[in-house]
Amino acid sequence: MSESEKIRSSEITDESAYLNRRNFIRAGALAGTAAATGLVYRYLNPPPPREVTTADIEGFSEAKGPLKDELTPIEDVTNYNNFYEFTTDKRGVASLAEDFRSDPWTVTVDGLVERPRVFGIEELLKIEQEERIYRFRCVEGWSMVIPWVGFPLKKLIEMAKPLSSAKYVAFQTYYGGSNPEGPDVKLPEGPNAMGNVFAGIPFPYVEGLRMDEAMHPLAILATGLYGKLMPPQNGAPIRLVVPWKYGFKSIKSIVRITFTDKQPPTTWSAATPNEYGFYSNVNPEVDHPRWSQATERRIGEYGRRETLLFNGYAEEVAGLYKGMDLRKNY
């Protein structure tokens, strides 16, 4: 007699119990895999934005007058950032930069100047601060309206007293990654380490302006936004804002400003010279080779709006480029 024949009929799982168990396993498989898929999705797309925790700036003069443009909400300004040293994911910079320390901080001013010097950030914050509401147009085709706080770059240039041979101003961003040249400032290790090896552009990030562009009253060194000290993701503690140029010209977290007689290298034009030039003025007529610059999406709006020459600051800055072919000097 074989073993199977010994099983009493009472021991055989009846069909309904078998089906129940199968349904139970199936329900579990459905719920389990769906939850796992959801978790993977959430991990790759973390949602809600973080609040800005930087201190209020005291005693700056507020921008006056009726606004032509509506301000972009602070959550959007501080949670949609291009800061490749941290990550190329614009939504991910805020959390990665959260613990970035920008105090102590120094900015070295050197090169062709009468008075080279190293500024502590506290000295720069003592310069009379004013609010400037500017449109900010990214080369990727989106734009914001941001209430910056800062002071004209011109003020710093005048303090440094450039020699007559100085024709350009070069800027350099702090870089906390492995870099043979080493960052210019000694900062606490850990939170300021930057390790984005997939950025595809060389660091430290560098930018530059022609002297007359740098001296233009619209060009500012910004130390904050929305009345608060500059959040790390937006370029703490001090950054450049040149509102008539694409956003990547407005270099963040500046550690060095050098006056030169030759046009300095700039990161994006060095990385892809056929796509990005030294000037990079906002111009709807001159397309990026891979996308049109004729229109832009204002953050917070659904459709697209027309992009304006020099980002709408033509009246103020067009004179700087008189007689220049803007197609060649893109």
Binding site: L30, T33, P47, N79, Y84, T88, T295, G300, Y302
Partner: protein
């Protein structure tokens, strides 16, 4: 419900999790500063993901010996087409506001848009002829030859993905490697036995 039917339900439910969360985040205002860009990127990535999964079915079937996997391939391919359509709709309605001249200009001037459109253009007849009726009408051989075009669509899709990036090519490279492995496996299966038998002779 037999196991095949249940597995199909399992695939549908899981494939619909991302758009469900996407819709939920949109409703909650949690898509970030640039929702259109985000939906565009997410639907694009999902298209490529499902295209690659559907292309992995045959190699997986041969390696594991589980011939029943073929039953899920049509569905996976149709999901790729579905996400491709969602991607196109997001682009043409929400990004370009159905401005036809802007779209035509885009396709004409920018190779990566033309590539993306072509890839979806290739998927359309494949989706239409994915039914049993069409397999019969075309005959297995012809149907199979037609459906090999899916590799062209996938290559276009990966290049399209690559060309949108400014400088960080990590994910397009990952997609490219996966596609190369899948394609390489097919070629190897096709030519390796011949090479071996020739070597023997």
């Amino acid at each position: 419900m037999n196991d095949t039917q249940f597995n199909k339900v399992l695939i549908v439910v899981n494939a619909l999790v991302p758009p469900a969360l996407l819709a939920w985040d949109w409703y909650q205002g949690n898509l970030g500063a640039n929702p259109v860009e985000f939906v565009l990127a997410t639907t694009g990535v999902l298209t490529l993901l499902f295209l690659l999964i559907s292309l992995a079915v045959t190699p997986l079937r041969k390696i594991t010996g589980r011939n029943d996997l073929i039953r899920y391939r049509r569905m996976l391919g149709l999901f790729a087409f579905f996400y491709g359509c969602a991607h196109l709709i997001t682009y043409s309605i929400f990004d370009k506001s159905l401005d036809l001249s802007a779209i035509v200009g885009d396709v004409w001037q920018r190779p990566f848009i033309a590539l993306g459109m072509s890839a979806l253009g290739i998927l359309l007849p494949l989706a239409v002829t994915s039914t049993k009726g069409w397999i019969k009408r075309l005959g297995g051989k012809r149907w199979q030859r037609l459906h090999r075009l899916v590799y062209v669509a996938a290559v276009f899709g990966v290049i399209h993905f690559y060309l949108i990036q400014k400088s960080d090519f990590f994910w397009p490279i990952v997609a490219g490697i996966v596609l190369a492995v899948l394609f390489g496996y097919r070629l190897w299966v096709k030519f390796a036995p011949k090479v071996r038998s020739e070597a023997k002779a």
